[in-house]
Symmetry: C3
Subunit: 320 residues, 3 copies
């Protein structure tokens, strides 16, 4: 595996889930794979869970880890040719990226959507530069439009906790005070479509996800109706994806707190498990009682980030 950005980069998901289960039983089983290998983790944006879980995963595999924090916006790379670089950009990506590749074997990149230029975000311009110019296998640690390590951890969690062969999984928008990227719901929708679940997506009008990710999944604008009989409720805020209203890309279209997941919402489900990628704003996304209930999976879900990252790094090491 030379790139990890979309669900199909991983191939057969059932095989991947079996690997995840194996690694969870014996985390250091493949420690020999990373010997004399180095993974470079580049953070253009903040990270807590990804930073910690990916480092742990790398060490599970015996990899040396080098973490590079790029000050947010402070390190500006020129991306165009023919430019006289006499401004604030001190380096061209055509030099910077191959050089970073020279000192490692694998590269992970975290870079958030700018939420102003939809095309630049959806083309994954920064991640693509690493894929094209680093000379190394590259994996997303959440990039502009996808967070596949999270979606894979979500899938592992659903697999571990499902009570029926083909559970009903509801991805529901919920309010948030800040405009957030679509990376998490994008990848979650994409991975659930690739998995053996019944996916329903629910959100206010205008929040339609990009077809690249949501495909022909059922969209239900009535949240309560969507939640009926759900086995898993996956709540998440996102800003306008600009699919049905391009001029509103990246904006907050609704602050409707009736979408906040509370006991009344959960009451219509099939005693559903509650999921969220974290960090989560209580009172906005979900109430205290729901997130603290025995059916809340947010902590084991976060813990599975170590497992998903270990499988992904293992696959990349095997491809070297």
């Amino acid at each position: 595996m030379k790139t990890f950005l979309y669900a199909n980069d991983l191939g057969d998901l059932n095989r991947a889930l079996a690997e995840a289960a194996e690694i969870k039983r014996e985390r250091y089983k493949y420690e020999h794979l990373g010997r004399h290998r180095t993974v470079l983790l580049i953070f253009f944006n903040n990270s807590l869970r990804t930073r910690l879980s990916t480092q742990k995963a790398a060490r599970n595999l015996g990899l040396d880890v080098v973490v590079l924090d790029v000050n947010q916006g402070a390190w500006k790379l020129e991306t165009e040719r023919g430019v006289i670089m006499d401004g604030d950009k001190s380096e061209h990506l055509l030099e910077a990226v191959p050089v970073m590749g020279a000192y490692c074997d694998l590269i992970g990149v975290r870079t958030f959507a700018g939420l102003s230029d939809r095309r630049a975000d959806y083309e994954e311009r920064i991640l693509r530069q690493f894929i094209e110019h680093s000379g190394r296998p590259v994996f997303s640690m959440e990039s502009a439009t996808a967070h596949p390590l999270q979606a894979f951890a979500d899938l592992i969690t659903i697999e571990e906790h499902k009570r029926t062969a083909r559970p009903k999984v509801v991805l529901t928008w919920a309010p948030h005070p800040r405009a957030l990227p679509q990376a998490v719901p994008d990848s979650f929708a994409e991975w659930m479509r690739a998995a053996d679940v019944e996916l329903v997506v629910t959100h206010p009008h205008g929040y339609e996800l990009d077809p690249l990710f949501v495909g022909d999944a059922r969209v239900e604008y009535d949240q309560m109706k969507a939640l009926e009989g759900a086995d898993f409720v996956y709540a998440k805020n996102w800003s306008c994806p600009g699919v049905t209203c391009p001029d509103d890309y990246g904006k907050i279209l609704s602050t409707d707190r009736s979408w906040t997941i509370d006991a009344a919402h959960m009451a219509v489900t099939n005693d559903a498990a509650f999921m969220h990628c974290l960090p989560v704003r209580r009172g906005m996304i979900v109430t205290d009682d729901v997130i603290e209930s025995p059916r809340s999976l947010v902590i084991p879900e976060a813990a599975n980030r170590e497992i998903s990252a270990t499988v992904v790094l293992k696959r990349m090491l095997e491809s070297l």
Copy 2:
């Protein structure tokens, strides 16, 4: 050992000192203990000695180390339930702390006193959150009111350099231009009381340390009288602990430079060794000639931070 905050967490101090001596002779003797184990070091505040010495101690034990710098004040955790998190706090401690525990085996936390809310500081609210919610053994790397790794290193240093079975140890306040926490004098007083030394504490009126730490140790307000016959002089500034004057908690009550330790102060001692936890402001806490004298132990004392941390981490690993 599941928590390391106070002297009695370590149990018999003589046994701990013997372990320290053993590790100092052979630093990697217990390297096998940390195999396939990870320690997470979380810094809410600046650190030089603690950052370096604790990493070295962890590697002595074969532990993987993950360092997490939390921007000072930038990462605000909600701590109350029932709150609608629509402000600047993006995560609740009830999610953040267990997640951090999910990716490691041991957690060290550095967090300074705020010096405005005495009760919050003396309840060690932030450290307690990690102890209660992380699911992992937690040790203080200096917290609001205690710096036990420093006090243990101080004790090791005194043990190594004492010339009598029960030396006289004087903890003396000294002036400083900024308001500093009480963590170092608190722990020093507490550990010296638990050790086999004669402790005398001296400071201007109003600087009385909390009884939790200072107990019934002798307090002498006449600094020169306190220093008479001392075998060890431990100088340190601290701000008002708010014991005798609660309204002044965290304030500077005195800038009296007659308390600065100079040759005249040392002349009344029993050729005492000089100690300070560093960083130290020369000319305020101590004069150049005293800190540079052959009787100054500040460098070996700092070096012993590696040893105290190795013993503490060893104990925690043995308890897993």
Copy 3:
């Protein structure tokens, strides 16, 4: 080797080049040397290539690595004796530096020239403090006036790509919008003089390099004339070294873009290879076509930073 700052610290350069070639073939050959040893990398200034390549080199040798980022200017060390430290300097170097040495076996320091006090820069005051007071072998990771790990990597690159026994190497100044230190051209000139090459230096009047580094190397003020028949063109900007015009130390004297290396410049060479230490500003230092041509060595040159650092760390480990 107890200090690495100048070319002669490395001794016989041919022997060093042979070691570099050996390590390049088998990077982990000396992994046993660093067992139970720790290198501390202290960054007073930004770094990308040095940060990554030196970490990789340390791991090649089995060293534990501790990285310490000192906020630029935020951590101010007092350097004078007899001072009452009641201002913004919270620690004296006579304490800070030995303490850092206490937790490691080797120390690397990055610290840029201030470009205001020529004497302070050329005395390498910060690096010298580590050499004199840390008690450990110290190597420059670019200091005020020298960047020997870069110059050694440059020499390795020239050795690998030279087509004649004694190639003509031209160090040429080129324009840049910011005032840059002289560390790279200083070391490059010094190392080329020590190596078996024909060195020519070219720059506008006023940019004369310090005799300590440039010695009696040929200086040619006519850039095109200098480039005639060159086998290697090494472009770099630097600010006024203050040799011929002391009052202009650290200033920009020229912004003449006729010095930018383009195809017309390269046309007068002997099909020269193009080199630059990176980061490079395209359109200022060099045009896109030159830096992207098959004769551009900037990426392999950067990759050789791992090799030069591995040789240097190996030598230091052997001296312990």
